[in-house]
Symmetry: C2
Subunit: 416 residues, 2 copies
């Protein structure tokens, strides 16, 4: 079995990268301008800046502000081609990927960067009534539901129905759930404050439900308390140690209570997209593929996995499913594939864990330090601008984004 | 029968305005801050800046750039309320409008500003295969179709199919058709130029079909020739004096030729939305309601029509269906309803007729003067900035729009 990373040379099958998210795109970009032929395949035509997707869902940014056409990012790289298509299988004996229409794309090296999706913990039927937040389509559905509920409430004479229309429930107290709850309450209490004549949007009810004993379980205790205090001060009702038992079109039911709500948002757990099936390997509990220190798949020559779909052991525990992990893995792998040197071990450099709680409040944890409030918000935006600049070739556009975020484009409130 | 415009006073039924486009919105804004209660009803939650809709369809602007929430525009006007709903009937005996769920909204004065839709000249089945451009949804569908066709062509090995995927047909040589054809060719030949590896987007074919003998038939001859020359120089194939006989998923057929095309866009004729039925009056050939010099409907006390749905006689010929006509009518009517003075006659002040042909080419006709080229483009943007500022309360935002238009946000190229 070969020790060395084989570098495909001109004329041989390319490096095929499946997925245009943080992992796949940074891998392709690290290979740009090299002698290596690369083919990047994604189901969509755009790279989505997911950390800000909750902003689209709460009508503070619009889809175009956080989506970048993949071709546009890679157009200067003559050795990289982009195909829009869906991979449905991998034939690792014949060394090719198979697309939705049967087309076979041969690979010399395969990089799987397929990401993750939300996990409904054995209740797939909840997906229809509790939208998760993974794609632009999800964000627009949630946004439409929120705004339409206020519009209906404005016309509604039935008190119980009006109350239900003005209630939202967010399930899951990790960063996404905290961000959603914090921005929905801001949408209601600030943005829409003066827009209605029969209802008072500041009476909207936002409920955040978390099964664990604290919010932001992966961050230090200090950040959890700050998030809890801040959300409660903003008016969010936070239920900790609470598990959801039932969800339907009228709302949710927990062990102890029923909440009638027009909008239910699922942010409670993720699961890797099923690349393990393609390779015929056994995934872990979250559907992830265990990888070696060089990100390769044991027993599957010339196949690598990066990002949310990979289970990478870092000193006894797996790396979390974060944008910065995917980006660093993709870039590291791309650089190694470029040089063809013997493989070494990937090392993750944590730039800090962050979560936003509102327009002026965030938490930021780095090693033993925790920051909260405006300083944390500033650090959060630094981290995200760096992530963003990596894909936007021009710093100007990154600041345009920041400008729009700050000035809160009203056009983002479209119901379409 | 009363001569005077009745001004509803506090406690009496309000002025109900149906439609949040240029006509309805400018009427409501002219009444803002008066003692008159106003209720504005629209099916959507946003006002759409239609002159730039073709920019969204060709992926140069995104929906949020040209859509403004109606509530946001009117939030400061305490006497104006906004309802999101669809009017399905008018009971002019009981003096109320009826919404889609049966809710009845009483009016003291009714202003119908329902606008227009595209006219398929007796071929309603063409609507499925030839999208018209009236709403954000239309624009996104066209955009997705254009971009997806290039994506499929990139993966396609069949020459005939590839050629069809890279062909678009625009039907109708008025301003909308000319703008669409000009910007699609720019999308292909400039914006997407370097993004593909297997196809050359500059080989895309754009065909513009017009039944009349010249483009822009409502503008002077000089403008028509300039538009024709400019489009042909950009690479658009223009067929004049040509009527479309058949349209299906494979393309179009005229009297003389067949054109295989993946994208067919209908911009060939408009028809007023059917308010005439609501009132039980006979519409003209285009579905418009004939109005008196004060914009009222003869035989229907306290009912007015503004915009595309009104047929207003100006010196022997009806005013055209233009944004500036609707805006001026709405504003004039609002001011008169505010003061309650005896009615006079509406007079339209033409600020010039314009059409854009590309990023640097436009035509502008005012009285006996015609301008073409960059000067016309500059005048075009002045006219449109004035229209836009009228609804955006801050000049800053209008310039943000202009900035985005010039810098051509890549995010607008989302396929979602």
């Amino acid at each position: 079995m070969e020790n060395k990373i084989a570098t495909p040379h001109s004329g041989s099958p390319p490096v095929v990268v499946v997925g245009g998210g943080f992992g796949g795109l940074s891998c392709a970009r690290a290979l740009a301008g090299s002698g290596v032929q690369v083919t990047l395949i994604d189901r969509k035509n755009h790279h989505l800046f997911q950390p800000l997707l909750y902003q689209v869902a709460t009508a503070a940014l619009s889809p175009a502000d956080i989506a970048i056409p993949i071709r546009s990012i890679l157009s200067d790289a003559a050795n990289v081609e982009v195909l829009m298509g869906e991979v449905v299988a991998v034939d690792h004996h014949e060394r090719c990927v198979i697309l939705e229409d049967g087309q076979r794309i041969p690979y010399g090296i395969l990089v799987l960067a397929v990401g993750s999706a939300y996990n409904y913990f054995g209740h797939p039927e909840w997906q229809d009534v509790a939208t998760s937040l993974k794609t632009i389509g999800d964000a627009r559905r949630i946004r439409a539901r929120l705004l339409r509920s206020f519009e209906e409430a404005e016309r509604c004479n039935d008190i119980a129905r009006r109350s239900r229309l003005m209630t939202s429930v967010v399930i899951g107290g990790g960063p996404t759930g905290v961000e959603m709850a914090g921005t929905i309450i801001e949408l209601a209490r600030h943005t829409l404050r003066r827009d209605f004549r029969h209802i008072d949007p500041s009476h909207a009810r936002v409920v955040l439900v978390e099964a664990g004993r604290r919010l932001l379980g992966a961050l230090p205790e200090k950040c959890s308390s700050y998030a809890l205090q801040t959300l409660r001060k903003k008016g969010v009702e936070v239920h900790l140690g609470t598990t959801v038992k039932e969800i339907d079109e009228t709302g949710i039911r927990t062990e102890t209570t029923e909440i009638a709500a027009a909008t239910v948002i699922w942010a409670a757990g993720i699961r890797a997209n099923p690349a393990a099936q393609w390779l015929g390997v056994e995934p872990d509990r979250s559907g992830r593929i265990a990888v070696a220190p060089d990100l390769s798949v044991p027993g599957r020559p010339d196949i690598y996995v990066v990002g949310d779909a990979a289970q990478f052991d870092a000193g006894g525990h797996p790396l979390p499913a974060l944008a910065q992990v995917a980006q660093q893995q993709g870039r590291w792998l791309g650089r190694h594939l470029r040089t063809g040197r013997p493989p070494s071990a990937f090392v993750f450099r944590n730039r800090g864990d962050t979560a936003v709680i509102g327009r002026d409040a965030a938490v930021y944890a780095f090693r033993s330090w925790s920051f909260t409030g405006r300083l944390a918000w500033f650090l959060w935006s630094l981290v995200h601008i760096v992530l963003l600049i990596d894909f936007e070739k021009r710093v100007l556009v990154s600041f345009q984004w920041l400008w729009r975020y700050i000035t809160s484009s009203r056009g983002a409130r479209l119901i379409d």
